[in-house]
């Protein structure tokens, strides 16, 4: 290879990379370093910024509200996760089935809720679940049930948030599952049919195992998305009743932007970042990256 030729290409490489690399450094790598630095101070977003060592962290490990928020987030995630994975999988199987005629229309209809902002998703579902004059309570009333206090009961409020979150993500995960299903070779289905495998047997012994990498991907994505649920909650309960639906990201924002404890919020952020990464790592290890 000729040196000036390659040299010119290296220059071109940096020219093409520069805009992304600069913006990424300023708005991602720098904040990443900054959050370590800020977590060691009592920065209030305005004037005070004294180095206080690990004080934020010692305070954090004794903060029962932090554990409550983290526990609520985990509970919410564990409760919602099975639905997040199973519902899109079942719908994807429906809309890839040879026995369904309206695949395109159905896919579009299921996908549309994924286009909405999380705030509007929250509002849309909240409107159906409002305690007075909400559709769900009305339907419960017409079959003779008592109207439910969706917003006042912590468990019901968490359920509504979970319902909204599932509704909004189903279309997107369905598309991922459709990709996984269409990648399975049709030959093996023919082979199974010739061997006399029933549709149920085929599903459990062939489709499901072959979809393991896709299922892993969806599980991983939904776990992270559930752990960081925020905007949707703002459209439904804003964290209430009390703090009963205040998940960890909202907890950080409340500390940082409402109580002006930027330093403390940075310490929580960093710890939460590590916890999230650890959860993803454990999932990755358990599933072997989705490989059989």
């Amino acid at each position: 290879m000729k040196t000036p030729y390659v040299k010119r290409h290296v220059t071109a490489f940096w020219f093409f990379i520069a805009p992304c690399l600069i913006l990424f450094s300023v708005f991602f790598l720098l904040p990443l370093c900054l959050s370590v630095g800020l977590s060691l101070t009592n920065y209030d977003g305005w004037k005070t910024m004294d180095f206080i060592g690990l004080h934020n962290y010692t305070e954090l490990v004794r903060d029962s509200k932090f554990y409550d928020a983290l526990g609520r987030t985990f509970g919410y995630t564990l409760f919602s996760l099975p639905f997040k994975v199973i519902v899109p999988l079942l719908i994807a199987i429906l809309v890839t089935s040879k026995r369904v005629a309206i695949k395109g229309l159905a896919r579009t209809m299921v996908y549309v809720p994924s286009l909405l902002s999380h705030l509007v998703v929250g509002i849309t579902i909240n409107w159906m679940f409002s305690a007075e004059y909400g559709l769900v309570n009305y339907l419960i009333g017409t079959i003779g049930g008592e109207p439910m206090q969706w917003a006042l009961n912590p468990r019901l409020a968490t359920f509504v948030i979970s319902f909204a979150s599932n509704w909004a993500s189903t279309g997107f995960y369905m598309v991922i599952f459709i990709g996984g299903i269409t990648n399975i070779s049709s030959d093996i289905y023919e082979a199974a049919a010739i061997d006399g495998s029933s549709p149920v047997q085929t599903f459990f012994h062939m489709t499901l195992p072959m979809l393991a990498p896709t299922t892993f991907l969806v599980t991983l994505l939904s776990t992270v998305n559930l752990l960081k649920e925020y905007a949707l909650v703002q459209g439904i309960t804003q964290g209430g009743p009390g703090l009963n639906t205040t998940f960890i990201i909202q907890f950080i924002f409340d500390k940082g932007f409402n109580q002006m404890q930027y330093g403390y919020a940075s310490a929580i952020s960093l710890l939460v970042m590590i916890i999230f990464a650890f959860i993803a790592f454990v999932q990755f290890k358990i599933s072997n990256g989705g490989d059989k």
């Binding site: 290409h9 992304c20 300023v26 089935s97 579009t108 299921v110 509007v120 509002i123 009305y138 939460v272």
Partner: protein, 276 residues
Amino acid sequence: MIKRTLPKYFWPSILTFLVSLLMLFPIIWLFFSSFKQTGELFSYPLALLPSEWTPSHYFKVVGDGFFVYVFNSLFLAVVGTAITLIISAMCGYALAIYRFEVSYTNLIFGIFLLGTLIPGETLTVPIVVVISELGLYNNIWGVILPVVTTTTGIFMFRQHYLSIPLSFVEAARIDGSNEAQTFFYVMLPLGTSSIVTLTIFSFMWRWNDYILPLLVLSDQKKYTIQIAIKNYIGFNGVDWSSILAASVMSIIPIIILFIILQRYIIGGLSASGVKG
């Protein structure tokens, strides 16, 4: 038996249609509710269709300055998407095309991949500090610049250009085109399918952006749609009649874009630069 006369795809299709309708139903309910009169919104019995259609909630929301927020959101979405497209295409292209000449392409790609491992939400506090320090607080650029670099976009274009034979680039070079010309005139037009896909996603992300606009934009004239909608949720409860109309208005552009570009995606996937 009657069942035998039905085609075998009849019941599965009906089931699929019902499930899809159920998924779409909350939006349908929201849409019709937004045209009901305030009195009808809060009285039993409930009906799907308004007994008397009224656009008054829409007039109220428009009177509240909604088109200013629509304009701000459009600016954020259009400019943000344009920047995302061009810089992601450049970056993904460079990471793919110079992989044999530049030894550290994988290292740089790895740095960008960090962006997917760490959720942006956990970095919001220091990002807002950086935005303020750069003097971008209460400035629309303060909500555009931090989010235009997406690892998804870079990844998408990198994969795309990895699949295009390097002979395309070699041919352009032999014809005397310089590196920038090769990219802009030869390779960029070959990336149409990635461009369309990323356009939909990026436009949707920016249109629906919530956290940064909420934290960075303080002047009401600079609010985006999402923030304007959020402000109908007060301490004393939700202004339902307004928020329903505002939500419907916020959904419409994104659904229209999706319906238009959905076709292009299907067309774009079959189009290819290499002819057999």
